[in-house]
Symmetry: C2
């Protein structure tokens, strides 16, 4: 599927002007960053100035989905003009020999565009499935689906992924030659990683309900102690 897609857009708005060597133009890299993140940061215009808010999301093909309560002013605001979302994964801190070369290893995607509100019930349901499956892969079919009341209280937005940029930094510090020559200062990377801990069953869960396989799979655990 990836091979048939055009490369990432190179509109002036998404052409990197700084640290260009970190830019990625492969469409698959955008998908990889979006799929690896759990929460995105949504930027909307509110009262004439930008506000950034964390929210869960999901991706299907070239569309990113967001959702929220119909009463959420931020989602309403997101429909009044272009929005931006960013997903960032921090992979480590880069320790350099000089203060100004300290950095972070990261993968980030920034998307800009106009979101649309989904109206069609099937499209809305599909989007909610995509969002839930993004946070909790394999969970949708195991739990109660949204009912009419819940659907009526929920707003679902779709954002096209056409206008996006991806930046990735990996590897060690890029120190000045003079500092490397002087020596005597440790330089390297302290890698950072996200790990799932053992699942914690809800206090109000009745006895005898096992942790689903899809949850265990996420943790590389074969079992967890019962409640």
């Amino acid at each position: 599927m990836t091979n048939s897609r055009p490369p990432l857009s190179t509109t002036p708005r998404t052409t990197l002007t700084r640290s260009k060597e970190r830019g990625r133009t492969d469409r698959a890299e955008l998908d990889a960053v979006l799929d690896a993140g759990l929460v995105c940061h949504l930027g909307v215009l509110l009262g004439g100035s930008p506000v950034v808010l964390p929210t869960v999301y999901g991706r299907d093909g070239d569309t990113l989905y967001l959702h929220g309560s119909t009463g959420a002013g931020n989602l309403r605001a997101a429909l009044t003009g272009d929005i931006s979302i960013a997903v960032t994964l921090v992979d480590g801190i880069v320790y350099a020999r000089s203060a100004m070369h300290f950095s972070a290893n990261f993968r980030s995607a920034v998307v800009r565009g106009r979101a649309v509100e989904l109206i069609d019930p099937d499209e809305r349901m599909h989007a909610l499935r995509v969002i839930v499956e993004h946070s909790a892969p394999g969970a949708w079919d195991r739990v109660r689906q949204p009912n009419k009341k819940e659907m009526a209280a929920t707003m679902v937005l779709a954002l096209d992924l056409t206008e996006a940029s991806v930046k990735v930094r990996t590897g060690g510090p890029k120190d000045d030659a003079a500092d490397i020559e002087t020596g005597g200062v440790w330089a390297g990377v302290l890698p950072l990683r996200q790990v799932w801990d053992a699942p914690i069953s809800s206090d109000d869960l009745e006895p005898g309900i096992e942790v689903p396989q899809e949850v265990l799979d996420r943790t590389d655990m074969v079992s967890v102690p019962g409640r």
Copy 2:
């Protein structure tokens, strides 16, 4: 220090309208979230629409510092009007008995306000120290300080933390009573945590330079194998 501070602002822009029970008004909670994060998401107006970008930061008292190249259009844009920054830590995925009650446990801070560019050399140097120490506590005094050329190429912004909101979600799912009664569906939390892996010395590091104690302390390691 915290006790003498006023509570978080309750301007209309930072008063939560959704999930108010997750709102925190203690100033110390804002500090805790900002201090726990590594990267913030900065929202600026660029060409009339918001763009969200990840960047490192630092906090000292009631001020958040950002920095970047003097050539960075995004930082220049940040000076033309109000900006917003958000810091979010995801602590787990909440698995519910119904799709619409899936959620994330998280700590997040959203700040809005007008950033100012620092001009005074001492203030600028202090801000850079705060930013580097945020990413790499204890490293500043161990490495080469910024020189005049580096300082000239660097833009430093300060953002007052007066107008901010903090949201925290903890605990298990809040399922509907009917779904709990029906039963048969696992519900709980899959906790997420960030861990530091063993430091990796730079390829160009000369032999005999040990990993600094401040780096080892971050990982709870007493030593790492030499290169």
